[in-house]
């Protein structure tokens, strides 16, 4: 579903990604771990076609980047720590706007379904700027899956959320992944990542240094594995 070979990204002369190789099967939930500045966000921005790779091969759902970026975007949902929503529009107007951009046929039932999934049906006519951070993040997930993408990318979705909001987000993330979507998520919240992920990759100094399936953790917790992986 996602295939990355020899991905290099430089800003000026400074390399951020130094030859990343990555593969995700359909239905896999890959959690990308790594210290600040390791290149996780840059990697996700390249996967989402917001940034061009300097060199390397990136293929998503059978389409190559950057040549077939429109086709990739049709199959992709992205949630970042920013909501990507308009504060002066209601939740429903936001989703309706994105349904027009994605040209979704008969959008009303899908919008209703998404509101139910993210638990915001009762607030759909409220302005987004009146929403709490947690509600905005749930609506951002609704926006990302509105067109039923095969691949969903989450960049630090827990940033700024309290415990209750994080628990609610866990449930929504599970629902998103439960229908067979391929998910790639970056996170510093190792406890939550351990619950959700099926595979854990450690990106450090611009390359994926370690990778482990959840079944291979064998009694160790993710924090122990992560510390060993980054040499901490």
């Amino acid at each position: 579903m996602i295939e990355v070979k020899g991905l290099v990204k430089k800003f000026g002369i400074k390399p951020v990604l130094r030859g990343v190789n990555f593969f995700a099967q359909p239905g896999e939930f890959v959690v990308l771990l790594g210290p600040n500045g390791a290149g996780k966000t840059t990697f996700l921005r390249i996967l989402s076609s917001l940034s061009r790779p300097t060199t390397g091969l990136v293929t998503i759902a059978g389409h190559k980047l950057p040549a077939e970026s429109a086709a990739v975007r049709q199959n992709l949902g992205v949630v970042s720590h920013m909501p990507l929503l308009y504060g002066d529009l209601t939740a429903e107007e936001n989703l309706r706007f994105y349904s027009r951009l994605y040209n979704i046929n008969d959008a009303n039932p899908r919008i209703t379904e998404v509101f139910e999934l993210v638990g915001l049906s009762h607030r759909k006519r409220d302005l987004v700027r009146t929403f709490s951070r947690g509600m905005q993040q749930r609506l951002a997930i609704g926006r990302a899956i509105l067109h039923d993408p095969e691949v969903v990318l989450f960049d630090e979705p827990y940033t700024g959320l309290d415990q209750d909001a994080s628990e609610m987000l866990d449930r929504v993330l599970r629902d998103v992944a439960a229908v067979g979507r391929t998910v790639v998520m970056t996170s510093h919240d190792l406890a939550r990542a351990e619950e959700l992920g099926t595979r854990f990759d450690v990106l450090n100094r611009g390359i994926i240094e370690n990778s482990i399936q959840r079944s291979e953790l064998a009694g160790r917790n993710l924090l122990t594995y992560y510390k060993q992986a980054i040499g901490g």
Partner: protein, 233 residues
């Protein structure tokens, strides 16, 4: 497995443009931040001219076009900055760039909404100016020049605001980059508008009108071609 009940077709270019314009106008009708700042600024400038310059009827006719275009161009930068800042503040520009639409549809969507806001401001300021200065501005030729000049100004302004919004100094940078580029539009619009207000023969006005039309076509086409590269990292 995924039920895949959602049918999403390849988005139409025209539909995407109007979705963006409609979204901008809906959001602005609710917040009125952009229009109110442009309008208040324009009215203040017109009022300052009124008190600062004591002019007879001939002098008034001579300076009207210049005074109005200075007002529109400064008010326009406020609108252009605000229009793109709304997209940047909550990451919405990324939301637009992630949609499977041709990215030039984003440019045209933003350009049309900026043009609508510019026309609304002009539709209020021009009659106000005409009443205060007792100058007849209900001249069809003058109104056409206003439309042509606004298109050229907004075509370049939308492109540059998409560039400058990525910078920390966007409020200062936009006018610094924009005004040198729109000098041909401003000169041509002032000359042609003055010609219509003062009732000059068409032969004297036509070259300026032609310059405006050529500028509009060239800069709209150029912006269409480079917008994709400008918004991509």
């Amino acid at each position: 497995m995924r039920t895949n009940q959602v049918t999403a077709y390849k988005p139409s270019f025209i539909k995407s443009i109007f979705a963006i314009t409609r979204k901008d106008i809906s959001a602005e009708m609710r917040s009125r931040e952009l229009l109110s700042s442009m309008l208040v600024f324009s009215m203040l400038v017109v009022l300052i001219y009124y008190f600062a310059l004591e002019l007879d009827i001939k002098a008034r006719e001579a300076i009207t076009a210049g005074a109005l275009w200075v007002t529109f161009s400064f008010a326009g930068t406020l609108g252009l900055n605000r229009s793109m800042a709304v997209e940047k503040d909550r990451g919405c520009l990324d939301g637009l760039l992630l949609a499977p639409v041709d990215r030039s549809a984003i440019y045209f969507g933003k350009m049309i909404s900026n043009l609508v806001f510019m026309f609304i401001v002009e539709a209020i300021v021009i009659p106000l100016y005409a009443i205060m200065y007792n100058v007849n501005l209900l001249v069809p030729g003058f109104l056409w020049i206003t439309v042509l000049g606004s298109i050229g100004y907004v075509a370049v302004g939308t492109l540059l605001s998409a560039m400058t919004v990525q910078t920390r100094t966007r409020d200062v940078l936009l006018p610094i980059l924009l005004f040198p580029l729109v000098i041909p539009v401003l000169i041509a619009a002032v000359k042609a508008s003055s010609g219509f207000i003062q009732g000059l023969p068409m032969e004297e006005i036509l070259p300026w009108m032609n310059l405006l039309i050529v500028y509009d076509v060239v800069f709209t086409a150029g912006s269409y071609m480079v917008f994709d590269n400008i918004v991509e990292e």
